[in-house]
């Protein structure tokens, strides 16, 4: 929001007499039009009344082309970026706004970093309701504030009707990893324990339940949450024992574990009976013909750690509100083919493969 030609919110004294001539933004009934992206007065007004009003912080208020930030102390910088395109924009337990904040904070946190700042860019489709935009932006602001990570710079573009899906939000996060912490998907070792911070599939099922062609009644809510405090607790509990942290978002638990197996050149053996899943999510997946192992999560992490630290770290996860249903779900194995395998509850074995294409429901 490089709002050079706007007055920071709060500054409404008589030194800015023109304000009285500005027609206020009609947030209640108004819609995004091409003028909001043209860089003129309408764009400035949109930025001031919707974005600055919600995200307000000293860095954003600088109003320059970029945010001038203090250099962080010792450690290394982590930077992560994520584009968010969820449909529908609002779902039980969250919306595109808080999702775009949590998603990027989590990507930074999975590197073992303390997230410091976020940037946000918005692609608005002509005709998008300003009231919805405001709701989403306020939700972002709330999420950023709760996480203690300010949104310090941003950008807005408007595309013609039909060339976007209402609203796309792209966020980038910066954080600092303390010296001595080195987490990577390539660090899993044979014999390591695989921990999961809670139930799988909640986010994906919550979103699916709202799709117009599919709406079904469920009390499942998205698990969208910022996980950096959980990561902080893990790093304090057993520094050095953690090898890999990753949040199983798109593609679900199965896809993320396959990524880790590939990156670390190991196999992973899961125990199906240990994988936590809410009864409602399991039921919805049964009904829709989906495998919950491939359904997205937005507030869960996988922790791979040295086996001797597994009990400590599991207790740490469970002591945190975001890890109450954490479980030890498997073990890292030696496997030249990097298969993720699973002992089924039924007593058999199977491969837990990469997702191929989209997960499509079966008809039979």
């Amino acid at each position: 929001m490089n709002a050079r030609d706007t007055t920071p919110p709060g500054n409404t004294d008589m030194s800015d007499p023109k304000r009285h001539y500005v027609r206020p933004l009609d947030v209640k009934h108004g819609r995004v039009d091409m003028g909001h992206g043209a860089g003129g007065r309408a764009a400035a007004q949109l930025i001031r009344d919707i974005f600055l009003a919600a995200f307000d912080n000293p860095y954003l208020r600088q109003g320059d082309d970029g945010a001038l930030l203090p250099a962080p102390g010792p450690g290394r910088l982590v930077m992560a970026t994520d584009a968010h395109v969820v449909s529908p924009l609002f779902f039980p337990g969250g919306d595109l706004g808080c999702l775009s904040v949590h998603g990027t904070i989590n990507d930074v946190a999975m590197m073992g970093a303390r997230p410091l700042y976020l940037s946000a860019s918005f692609i608005l489709e002509e005709g998008f309701a300003l009231a919805e935009l405001q709701r989403i932006v306020q939700s972002m602001a709330r999420a950023a504030q709760e996480a203690g990570v300010p949104i310090v710079t941003g950008d807005t573009k408007v595309v013609e009707k039909g060339k976007g899906d209402g609203l796309f939000i792209s966020t980038t996060g910066v954080g600092v990893v303390p010296d001595g912490v080195a987490l990577s998907g390539a660090h899993a070792r044979v014999g390591d324990a695989v921990l999961l911070s809670g139930t799988i599939g909640d986010h994906g099922v919550a979103v699916l339940s709202q799709r117009e062609s599919l709406s079904f009644g469920t009390s499942v809510v998205s698990d969208t949450a910022a996980l950096h405090t959980l990561v902080d607790a893990l790093l304090r509990a057993a520094p050095g024992a953690l090898r890999t942290l990753r949040d199983p978002t798109r593609g679900g638990l199965a896809t993320t574990l396959n990524e880790i197996a590939q990156q670390s050149s190991v196999g992973i053996r899961l125990d199906e009976a240990q994988i936590p899943i809410a009864a409602q999510v399991e039921a919805a997946c049964e009904l829709l013909g989906l495998d919950p192992l491939y359904v997205a999560n937005e507030g869960k992490l996988i922790a791979i750690c040295a086996p001797e630290a597994a009990d400590t770290l599991l207790a740490t996860l469970r002591a945190h509100p975001l890890g109450a249903r954490a479980a030890r779900i498997g073990t890292v194995t030696q496997d030249a083919h990097h298969f993720v395998q699973m002992n089924t509850r039924f007593g058999g074995k199977r491969v837990v493969d990469w997702l191929s294409g989209e997960q499509l429901p079966r008809i039979c």
């Binding site: 009976a273 194995t333 493969d353 191929s356 039979c364």
Partner: protein, 379 residues
């Protein structure tokens, strides 16, 4: 989860597995065909074969609705969407089936075709009501399970006088396919497909009942056990088949008593009969032309028949030469017998239809079972 966990109980499964080990005679082989893709999926996903003795082999049958759909039928659907500019509604698992010219419904969509995935034909009907200016076509595939809902939709469209809704009918019939397999030269003469019995369809049998299978059991001396789609259903049915073989019986037994009876859902059957009639012949992928094996829309409902409305003509398209889907669907070959399995043909890039749906024999083996083909060193 109630009504689910009971049928996936590992302890019970182990006991049934031990019973099969105890009762299967070690001096003979048992080969059973599970007809339905639903069974194939359950066997692979839950690892049912792990619990069976080596001399009890499961052969995957042709009962995967997507797998038996010939290329020419997908081509028709693509042509409707690309050339006739219709809104084509389809079940999810047909989207990626390879068609002619390197196309699939998904790829046609990327070229601008309006293709919508629906969970039910009712959704297609709703789209037709919501878009009166567009022609909406439902791509109807599947066995007797998915046929009654299509009949309901056509009857409903007729009652409402909907002018922009039609159905590309590709519904096929289970008993005809089983007869075809039993009559195939591989089973009859060469003995290349040893078949000692069938795991009979679950959901199909809810509609048609178990009476239609009596003829196979008696006529061809093959035991049939109607089985549910849960893994315990399947393993229990395998035990029942082993017992029939051991005792020299060839009967229709019903393991799926919680849902299937002798005559099935007569209301659904009457509705199917009202809307559909028998096609003289229909091409199946893998099985070729099979007489009296599929349904067409009756002339009384011709205006809801997309083939009629858009003047479509079916053209048969040969399968890729290297693809063994045909032999695999007939039970003659296993997925790993196919030269291109897992190399050229993968779930990301399916050449044959058996690699597309997770119920397909190749996809199921690739996704859930390929670790068995490769020695894995475990720490």
């Amino acid at each position: 989860m109630k009504y689910i966990d009971e049928y996936r109980d590992g302890d019970v499964a182990r006991r049934v597995g031990e019973q099969i080990h105890a009762e299967a005679h070690s001096d003979r082989q048992y080969s059973f065909m599970e007809f339905c893709g639903g069974h194939t999926h359950a066997i692979s996903r839950y690892g049912v074969t792990e619990l069976l003795p080596d001399n009890v082999r499961m052969v995957h049958g042709p009962g995967c609705p997507v797998c038996v759909l010939p290329i020419g039928r997908i081509d028709l659907a693509i042509r409707l969407a690309l050339e006739h500019d219709v809104m084509l509604c389809t079940y999810g698992d047909t989207l990626r089936v390879p068609a002619s010219d390197g196309l699939s419904l998904t790829r046609a969509k990327a070229r601008g075709a309006d293709i919508r995935m629906v969970y039910s034909v009712a959704d297609a009907l709703a789209l037709a009501r919501a878009h009166p200016g567009r022609q909406v076509v439902f791509f109807a595939i599947g066995f007797e399970t998915t046929t009654p809902p299509t009949a309901v939709a056509i009857a409903q469209a007729a009652r409402e006088g909907l002018k922009n809704f039609s159905v590309l009918c590709c519904h096929v019939l289970t008993p005809a396919a089983i007869t075809h397999i039993l009559e195939s030269p591989e089973v009859q003469q060469y003995g290349t497909v040893p078949l000692d019995g069938f795991i009979g369809p679950a959901h199909v049998s809810i509609i048609i009942g178990y009476q239609p299978y009596v003829a196979f059991a008696e006529g061809y001396r093959k035991p049939v056990v109607i089985s549910g789609f849960e893994p315990l259903d399947v393993i229990q049915s395998i035990l029942m088949l082993v017992r029939q073989v051991n005792e020299g019986r060839a009967e229709v037994e019903n393991e799926f008593i919680r849902a299937v009876d002798r005559h099935g859902n007569t209301k659904a059957q009457a509705l199917m009969d009202q809307v559909f009639e028998m096609r003289p012949s229909f091409e199946w992928r893998g099985l070729g032309e099979v007489p009296s094996s599929a349904l067409a829309i009756r002339p009384a409902y011709a205006e809801f028949d997309a083939e009629h409305r858009f003047g479509l003509h079916y053209q048969s398209v040969p399968d890729n030469k290297a693809c063994e889907c045909g032999a695999i669907l007939r039970g003659v070959k296993r997925p790993t017998d196919c030269k291109i399995f897992g190399t050229v043909c993968t779930p990301e890039n399916p050449v044959g239809s058996c690699m597309v749906s997770s119920e397909g024999a190749c996809a199921a083996h690739y996704t859930y079972g390929r670790f068995r083909d490769i020695p894995v060193v475990t720490a």
